[in-house]
């Protein structure tokens, strides 16, 4: 464990922040503007990736900018945990940049300069969150991330978008306040806010009640962006943003910054041993289990594809939190339960990122090409967009934990961790959620490939009234009754939407003619990424980084 003084972490954070200026300056020349975005994304990825080998050896690059406020140094430190998040964010930013070009131009969106500038700023903040070396610097970038993503949420400038933006600000700044209060408590108790592997030493001897309060405040604050119930409701509303934003920010960068904050708190502020001693790990795990089940059930009833994906995100984020929390709760036990659970939770960060990004990209491509947003209007759409919906099917299978796709590996570790730790309740929750995942994703795949607008089947699980035979005839989400499906819902479809007005979809060969490669390329890349993570997890660098993190965080210290 040596620290290497270097400007690389700072450069990795700033490169996209600096790109904001030329992006804003090239308003009238979209190709130049997007050139800057891609250039910054490539540089950022290169800088982040260049620090990975050192992290795998257990070393870390450090930029020290001197004291910031009392007790707090302004230091950026690219350790393994930070690099895990930074690598996911910067790799997927590059992918999303290309996708954004196809999406924003495909829809001829307004305010594209603001969009790309805010996007670059958001990724800067996300990498800043990753490399923060103490709670205050983390808080700094966490708040900047809120500020930078707000223009993206409110992008549409409709009443709905503005309301979503307000809600977003209120929730996330509320969370920020809790983080600040928790940080103040930690500083008050220990005289430092700096992360250290295994936890800040002074906390163990501090007043347990205050320590628990600090833990609760910090986890609540980060839990807002991690969409822990009941603090999740900003996330489905934020789906009003353009789809690349929903994809990269509200499935990867923003929500993962919350999850990342939780993992920093558990691993590097309190340390899993202290978490076990304080008995807060079990509580957090229970909240996570509740969230992942409830969100899955709600997802069943969402007809709007992006909202269904949003609730799926809420649910999947809690897998990560559950893994971390079980790791904390099981730390006191003999055996490797804590280690398995931590690996599972942390590995789910990249795994979920790749899969959910694929799903959002697919939803966006469908929106651009056919202006279809509701699942009930997607019967037979697999003919129109074979590659897109094929990628969707792969990623959806991964979400449900089908082997050979990324989701399986992380869930497998989670299951092993919960079982060997004796937390059978959580194992059951994970399994039930897996079934629910199939229940809400399969109808999408089924309707896309095996139905046509004329010939479709009942979908009792997602459409029948809640309460079965005794339930009322209205649908729980207030959507239109089944009879409303069909041609009338396609009233907004323009002439080149590929929808012939007899009710069927024009058939396209799976050769890329269904859409632009600006969108298909990223979709296929992300889908391929989820398969690689699932087939050869050890070859993909993420699992190795995760093992490095876990071996540093657990006292057992045996590298698996």
């Amino acid at each position: 464990m040596t620290d290497i003084t270097s400007l690389r972490p700072l450069a990795a954070v700033l490169v996209s922040a600096f790109a904001v200026v030329p992006i804003l300056a090239s308003t009238g020349r979209p190709n130049v503007r997007e050139g800057w975005t891609v250039l910054a994304a490539v540089c950022k990825l290169g800088l982040v990736a260049s620090m990975v080998p050192a992290a795998l050896r257990g070393d870390a690059f450090v930029t020290d900018l001197g004291p910031f406020v009392p007790y707090v140094e302004f230091t950026l430190r690219a350790d393994a945990l930070g690099l895990l998040f930074a690598l996911v964010a910067s790799l997927l930013w590059l992918v999303t940049s290309f996708y954004s070009i196809g999406y924003m131009r495909g829809l001829d969106e307004h305010g594209q300069t603001r969009y790309f500038a805010a996007f670059a700023g958001s990724v800067s903040s996300a990498v800043g969150v990753a490399f923060a070396s103490n709670l205050i610097v983390l808080y700094l970038f966490y708040e900047l991330l809120t500020v930078a993503t707000y223009p993206l949420v409110a992008h549409d400038e409709t009443d709905e978008a503005r309301a979503a933006g307000r809600k977003y600000l209120a929730y996330t700044f509320g969370g920020g306040v809790a983080v600040l209060a928790g940080t103040l408590l930690v500083v008050h108790l220990t005289g430092t806010a700096a992360f250290s592997a295994g936890g800040i030493a002074g906390l163990a001897s501090a007043d347990p009640t205050l320590a628990r309060l600090a833990f609760a405040l910090l986890v609540t604050g980060f839990g807002v962006k991690a969409a822990l119930m009941p603090l999740h409701s900003w996330l489905p509303d934020a789906m009003v943003a353009p789809t690349p934003v929903s994809g990269l920010l509200h499935a990867v960068a923003v929500v993962k910054s919350g999850v990342f904050g939780v993992s920093r708190v558990l691993l590097d502020v309190f340390g899993i041993d202290l978490v076990a001693e304080l008995g807060v790990g079990g509580v957090l795990a229970a909240i996570a289990a509740f969230t992942l089940l409830t969100a899955s059930v709600i997802a069943l009833r969402q007809d709007n594809l992006k909202r269904r994906l949003a609730f799926s995100t809420v649910s999947q984020l809690s897998y990560i939190v559950l893994g971390l929390a079980v790791g904390g709760a099981a730390a006191a036990q003999p055996g490797d339960a804590a280690k398995w659970a931590l690996i599972g939770g942390l590995l789910h960060i990249p795994a979920h990122a790749f899969m959910k990004l694929t799903l959002f990209f697919c939803a966006g491509a469908v929106h651009v090409e056919t202006h279809t947003d509701d699942i009930s209007d997607m019967a037979g759409i697999g003919r129109r967009m074979p590659l897109t919906m094929g990628a969707f099917a792969v990623a959806a299978a991964g979400m449900a934990g089908i082997p050979l796709i990324a989701g399986f590996v992380s869930k497998y570790f989670l299951l092993v961790g919960t079982v060997s730790g004796g937390y059978v309740v959580f194992t059951a929750a994970l399994l039930v959620s897996g079934i629910l995942n199939i229940a809400y994703f399969w109808p999408v795949v089924y309707t896309a490939f095996f139905e046509t607008p004329e010939r479709s089947d009942e979908k009792p699980l997602v459409e029948a009234p809640l309460g079965g035979y005794f339930g009322t005839a209205t649908r729980a989400d207030g959507g239109q009754p089944n009879g409303g499906r069909g041609a009338s819902s396609h009233a907004d479809g323009n002439s080149d939407s590929g929808h012939d007005h007899d009710g069927g979809w024009t058939r396209y060969a799976p050769d890329g003619s269904e859409s632009t490669w600006f969108m298909l390329g990223p979709i296929l890349f992300a889908a391929a990424g989820s398969v690689v993570l699932g087939v050869v997890p050890d070859a993909a660098v993420f699992l190795r980084i995760v093992r490095e993190i876990v071996s540093a965080a657990t006292v057992m210290g045996v590298v698996l």
Binding site: L24, A25, P70, I136, L140, V147, R166, F173, L184, V187
Partner: protein, 505 residues
């Protein structure tokens, strides 16, 4: 000339400038502005020299007229005073850059302007309680006159209200000084502190003096519910004047409160008198919460900003009530930070009104298309005011909150940290309207700026209707400072430590 003579010069210089500005009208009309610029620039040099010396060598003392200290008037410059001197000079100079185009342009205006600078400077450097009252009155009278310099009837009414309420405040302050003098027979602050301790902290005379002085200054600081003059005065004054007085007048009054509470009465007095301490804590909490709630309900932008000040000065009073090194450093940081941010916001509101005529929250809709620079600067300053790091707004809040945690003042800590959300509540309304709404449809085409960039490009800015380069420079400088100062706070806090420690000893 020694450095300590500069302590006298720093007060004399703006008074001299005021006279010259007044007399220059006999030679040539509208010649006040260059005189004021020259005087404030010189003032800035003197203030910076004094502050640098005070930070490097410690306290500077000067006795007026050669009378010995407890009897004669003493002027003292320590780190805190130095901070205020530089702040006053720098803000006055910045506002002058704005005033060149925005007006008012008459010579008497600039004469009063300089008189206000003199009053504020005098309040900062004096170490004599009665002398502080004199400068408080000079400040007050100059401020009433400046508010009244607007052309509308509204300015006159606001100034009258300010005069009535402000005079009550100054009178209470004077009454308090009287009680203190009866009890101790001295007016020198340091001497008062010694004799006060000798009298005992439970002497009724002293408790009364404390209550009168603090309530008098509460009026001047505009602590809720004694704030009623302030929104009218800030909103009714010309834009230049609201920028100046919102940045400086309440700030120096809060400085006076800090100075009197700690140099004259001291922490031991607060420890011995729970009620005195409660007065400060109560004022702080009520001000923070009520000021924000009132700000949310305003429809006029300048009134909203005014109520925001009520809330922000609650934070400073909170820091005074906590009274440890960290919190008082936070008070100094927040006084400076608030001055930069709020002064900048008022000037930006003036700039926006000049460019587009928009003065209400509703009229700010779609502002980014009509006044890109105004909207961008307003956005940055609003974010800083909310306290998003790394801005100065965050730094001040962090110091004060940390001080509250160190002192175990949990209620205050909760209010201070929660104030972030309250601040967000009123600024988010505006930011959303500026950037994410279409401009109102019934806009006259004359003020629609065709082809304006949506992101605040500076090159398109210079030719905007009515606004001068100086106006842009002033508001952009405020935005840059609001962010940049956040990075030097730690060094400043270090430099302030000896000053604050001697204040608390």
């Amino acid at each position: 000339v020694t450095v300590s003579d500069l302590a006298a010069l720093v007060v004399a210089l703006p008074i001299f400038g005021s006279l010259v500005a007044f007399l220059a009208a006999l030679v040539r009309s509208k010649s006040g502005w260059p005189v004021a610029v020259a005087a404030t620039a010189a003032q800035l040099v003197v203030a910076t020299t004094l502050a640098a010396t005070a930070f490097r060598d410690g306290k500077i003392s000067y006795v007026v007229g050669g009378f010995e200290a407890p009897y004669g008037i003493e002027l003292v410059v320590d780190g805190l005073t130095g901070t205020m001197l530089v702040l006053i000079a720098a803000v006055s100079l910045g506002v002058l850059a704005f005033a060149r185009r925005a007006g008012p342009r008459s010579n008497p205006f600039y004469a009063v302007y300089m008189l206000l600078v003199a009053g504020l400077t005098g309040m900062s450097v004096t170490a004599d309680l009665f002398n502080m009252y004199v400068f408080l009155e000079i400040t007050g009278l100059a401020a009433y006159a400046l508010v009244a310099s607007g052309e509308r009837g509204r300015s006159a009414v606001a100034a009258l209200k300010y005069l009535l309420v402000g005079t009550v405040g100054a009178s209470l302050f004077l009454l308090g000084i009287g009680y203190a003098y009866i009890g101790t027979g001295t007016l020198n602050m340091a001497d008062l502190a010694v004799k006060l301790a000798a009298n005992g902290y439970d002497a009724t005379l002293m408790q009364t003096a404390f209550a009168l002085i603090v309530v008098g200054l509460f009026i001047k600081v505009a602590v809720f519910p004694l704030h009623t003059w302030q929104p009218d005065a800030y909103a009714g004054a010309p834009d230049t004047v609201s920028g100046l007085i919102s940045a400086l007048v309440s700030t120096v009054a809060a400085y006076a409160l800090l100075r009197v509470v700690f140099t004259v009465f001291g922490t031991a007095f607060l420890d011995a008198n729970a009620l005195a301490h409660g007065l400060l804590v109560g004022g702080a909490i009520v001000s923070i919460v009520a000021g924000s709630l009132l700000a949310v309900s305003q429809s006029e932008v300048k009134r909203m900003l005014a109520y925001s000040s009520v809330s922000q000065f609650g934070l400073v009073v909170a820091a005074i009530s906590i009274g440890n090194v960290t919190a008082l450093t936070g008070a100094a940081v927040h006084l400076v930070g608030h001055a930069v941010m709020k002064g900048g916001l008022f000037l930006t509101a003036g700039l926006v009104a000049t460019e587009t005529g928009a003065r209400t929250v509703e009229e700010f809709e779609g502002l980014v298309e009509r006044s890109p620079v105004g909207a961008a600067v307003f956005g940055v300053l609003a974010v800083a005011m909310v306290g998003v790091p790394p801005t100065i707004g965050f730094a001040g809040k962090w110091y004060i909150a940390l001080g509250a945690a160190e002192a175990g003042a949990w209620t205050l800590l909760a209010v201070i940290v929660g104030s972030t959300l309250l601040t967000l509540a009123y600024f988010a309304r505006l930011v959303e309207r500026m950037f994410f709404r279409e401009p109102p449809a019934d806009l006259e085409p004359a003020i629609e700026r065709v082809g304006a960039v949506t992101d605040g490009g500076d090159e398109a800015a210079g030719d905007a209707a009515g606004a001068s380069l100086g106006m842009y420079a002033a508001v952009v400088a405020a935005a840059v400072l609001a962010v940049a100062l956040g990075f030097v706070v730690f060094q400043y806090g270090d430099a302030m430590q000896p000053t604050i420690e001697s204040l608390l000893s």
